[in-house]
């Protein structure tokens, strides 16, 4: 199994799930629609990547034990305020752009093709995230949120891509001590609760729920 692609798919699934927690309670109606739509897109990307990796995307997405997930701690966090939700969205998109750009150069044409397809949709996500960053950049809440989440964002990418991320986010790389527990490979405690919720239907109807 391609660990890099599995990490991408798990990230997209989990951030899609987390961001959809804002459906119905985002600060404005218009943003509620936009944020939910973006969350849905991310889950769509996850599905496309799972389908590349396995016959049965649902089985891959939901039937693994918790420790087999490859998502980064950044996407697992349950964030309860808007500044943090937007800070994560923005940091995630900046990091994701670097990862997707690398995958677009992949030797496997199917991987490169899918990455390019995902990238075309992510362009709007980046536009959305960037416009929010510009608007909130000077607020203490947003600055504090970026400060909190920055080590997690760095931990989302392999070490060789972190310099590029730091340059784009105009920040310096976090120390090893700050990165502790925030890098891909480890998981936060918050993932377990999310996973229970995420797999609830699957576990109650192992043969597959019909909608």
């Amino acid at each position: 199994m391609n660990e890099l692609l599995l990490g991408l798919a798990d990230d997209e699934l989990v951030i899609g799930w987390r961001d959809s927690e804002w459906t119905g309670i985002a600060p404005m109606l218009e943003e509620d629609v936009a944020f939910s739509s973006i969350a849905q897109n991310e889950i769509g990307h996850a599905r496309a990547v799972y389908e590349l990796l396995a016959e049965d995307a649902d089985a891959l997405a939901f039937d693994r034990p918790l420790d087999a997930y490859r998502c980064a701690p950044l996407v697992e966090l349950r964030l309860l305020d808007w500044a943090h939700a937007i800070a994560r969205r923005w940091l995630y998109e900046v990091a994701d752009e670097i990862r997707i750009a690398a995958l677009m150069e992949d030797d496997d044409a199917r991987v490169a093709g899918l990455a390019a397809k995902i990238n075309r949709e992510e362009a709007y996500h980046r536009m959305h995230a960037e416009m929010w960053r510009e608007r909130l950049a000077d607020t203490p809440q947003f600055r504090a949120a970026v400060e909190d989440l920055w080590p997690y964002a760095a931990g989302m990418l392999p070490a060789k891509q972190r310099e590029a991320l730091a340059a784009r986010a105009h920040r310096s790389l976090p120390s090893d001590k700050l990165l502790l527990g925030k890098e891909r490979g480890g998981h936060t405690e918050q993932l377990a609760e999310l996973w229970d919720e995420m797999t609830m239907v699957r576990h109650s109807a192992p043969a597959g729920a019909q909608w």
């Binding site: 404005m28 218009e30 739509s37």
Partner: protein
């Protein structure tokens, strides 16, 4: 300061833009991002026009003090005349 943007959408190329609804947004970037999601994410539009409501010049009052019916289409009873014309044509085709 947020303003109301009126959103017009076009179904297909060449079709007229029709009013779809409105968006409250602080600037053109937000208006665009939100309008894309609200009026385009299902592939229902090929293009959108976003217009700040205050930029719209509205005309809504009409003076018609002398009942100039002949200017209006409803001044003529097309229906009755159409019926007559059809009957004439039918008689001629006999």
């Amino acid at each position: 300061m947020s303003v109301v943007w009126e959103v017009f959408r076009q179904d297909r190329k060449g079709q007229p833009f029709e009013h779809a609804g409105s968006i409250v947004a602080p600037d053109a970037d937000f208006a665009e991002a939100w309008a894309r999601e609200q009026y385009g994410r299902r592939g229902e539009s090929v293009a959108l026009w976003l217009v700040p409501r205050e930029q719209i010049h509205t005309v809504g009052d009409w003076a018609d003090e002398f009942d100039l019916k002949y200017r209006r289409v409803d001044g003529y009873s097309i229906k009755a005349r159409l019926k007559e014309a059809r009957e004439r044509a039918a008689a001629r085709a006999g």
